[in-house]
């Protein structure tokens, strides 16, 4: 089998369209994971025991089952009970929900890492609960979380090929379809690998910068 540059240029626009969708899905799912994760973390801290335990059980369940199975469930099983979601939305919800259970742990650890004395000083200076969160707890809890959150962002990016299983036309799915059309796999699959590698390398550098910036601040 020989490498065919002409074929590479021919399929490039299709693959780039796939890459664009991959980035879009990653970004949207990351937003869902960031927001939903915070909600899960707050619910787990709830004074209401049933709420806290229910949230913990749900997180454990989601984390304990494979993302691929969850995606199939959301896209192929939910329509049976009348919930029909477009592939892209199903993918964003599936990945976002799955990773929210991980980001929730990051939030939780970050919040718990703020010493108890900080809560007490806030109360002794008569700050309200809201002021305590906004001015004392969050500014101290968030910077150490950032490298860990960015790590999950990169992990999420590399898991987007799973979405090809539910017909999302992301990079992997596009590569598969051109490969199946022309019966040539070497160029499309190599390019998928190269694209992911390139993005990962950029992300790793980005992560190092974040760690240098915020990891130090944590001390």
């Amino acid at each position: 089998m020989e490498w065919d540059w002409a074929f590479v240029w021919q399929i490039m626009p299709t693959l780039l369209a796939g890459l664009k969708l991959t980035l879009l899905v990653t970004l949207l799912a990351a937003v869902v994971a960031a927001v939903l994760g915070l909600a899960l973390a707050i619910l787990r801290r709830s004074g209401n025991r049933a709420v806290a335990r229910g949230t913990a059980a749900l997180s454990e369940f989601i984390r304990g089952t494979p993302l691929l199975v969850q995606l199939y469930f959301i896209f192929y099983v939910l329509p049976d009970i009348g919930i029909r979601l477009p592939a892209l939305l199903a993918g964003v919800i599936g990945m976002g929900l799955h990773y929210a259970t991980y980001t929730a742990e990051v939030y939780r650890a970050g919040i718990e890492n703020v010493p108890r004395g900080q809560w007490e000083a806030a109360r002794a200076t008569n700050l309200t609960m809201r002021q305590t969160w906004v001015h004392v707890i969050v500014p101290q809890a968030v910077p150490p979380m950032i490298p860990a959150l960015a790590n999950y962002l990169i992990a999420m990016f590399k898991e987007t090929p799973l979405l090809s299983a539910i017909t999302v036309l992301e990079l992997m799915n596009q590569a598969k379809s051109v490969a199946n059309t022309y019966y040539r796999y070497i160029e499309p699959m190599t390019l998928v690998g190269v694209f992911f590698l390139a993005m990962s390398l950029v992300s790793v550098v980005f992560l190092r910068v974040l760690e240098a910036r915020f990891g130090r601040m944590a001390k």
Binding site: G117, Q118, A124, Q131, Q140
Partner: protein, 261 residues
């Protein structure tokens, strides 16, 4: 005869089955400087934490500046205080902690101005001017822009005192404020507190293991053991002529451990 500024009546605090405070009652008069001494686990720090509402009570009543701290009246009935009531009551009280608990992400000046700006609506310029006066008083005006991490323990504690003072509480609680300091840094903090005691009419409650300082600072000393007051009186009596056996043995142990009296 003025009314007491703090009235503690039959206060009980249990952690599980362990009674830290067991039916404690005492009053504090406005402007009084009180030293609380006793072995660790005797409940003296718990009293300060309860007064600052960092710890709830199990039973009893506390009155501060004429108002119930943990109870309020609603429709003529006494009910447990809600957060709004606690918030109002907390404005009478300030606290300085053993481990300073400065906000590490804020500058020294911001540590002091944060609460007045947020809780009292003090304009920033006024809060900063007042903070600079307080820093002047504790001898740290040149550190206004420093971060807490750049300060020594003694300097941190002096900033913490300034932070508590900025809210102008009527009652100040000092919880073992020199226990976490290297010995050579203790003096600078005690000096600030002595000046404070001499220059203000604030009511002060001090939990300490520095018997020499308690002697000099306090109008009255309370000796605690097992959640009760064993003996109380002017410092001369407690330190030079304690009546109770438990007070005597505690002071002997403290002296043997190398503390000055």
């Amino acid at each position: 005869m003025t009314d007491p500024i703090i009235r503690i009546d039959n206060l009980v605090k249990s952690f599980g089955t362990f009674k830290v405070l067991d039916g404690l009652s005492f009053d504090v008069m406005p402007g009084e400087k009180l030293a609380l001494i006793g072995p660790s686990g005797s409940g003296k720090t718990t009293i300060l934490r309860i007064l600052m509402t960092l710890e709830s009570i199990s039973d009893g009543h506390i009155e501060i500046c004429g108002d119930q701290l943990y109870h309020m009246r609603r429709n003529g009935r006494e009910v447990p205080a809600d957060e709004a009531h606690l918030h109002k009551m907390r404005s009478h009280i300030g606290m300085v902690f053993q481990h300073f608990n400065l906000f590490p992400h804020k500058s020294v000046l911001e540590n002091i101005t944060l609460a007045p700006i947020l809780t009292k609506g003090t304009p920033r310029a006024k809060a900063e001017a007042r903070a600079m006066e307080l820093l002047e008083m504790v001898g740290l005006a040149d550190k206004a822009d420093a971060r807490p991490a750049q300060l020594s323990g003694g300097q941190k504690q002096r900033v913490a005192i300034a932070r508590a003072l900025a809210l102008q509480p009527r009652i100040m609680l000092f919880d073992e404020v020199t226990s976490a300091l290297d010995p050579e840094l203790v003096e600078e903090v005690l000096l600030v507190m002595k000046r404070l005691a001499a220059e203000t009419d604030m009511t002060m409650l001090l939990v300490t293991h520095e018997m020499g300082f308690a002697h000099e600072f306090a109008d009255r000393v309370l000796f605690f053991d097992k959640g009760r007051i064993v003996e109380q009186g002017p410092p001369e009596q407690i330190f030079s002529n304690p009546r109770e056996e438990r007070t005597q043995s505690f002071l002997r142990k403290i002296i043997a451990a190398g503390h000055r009296v």
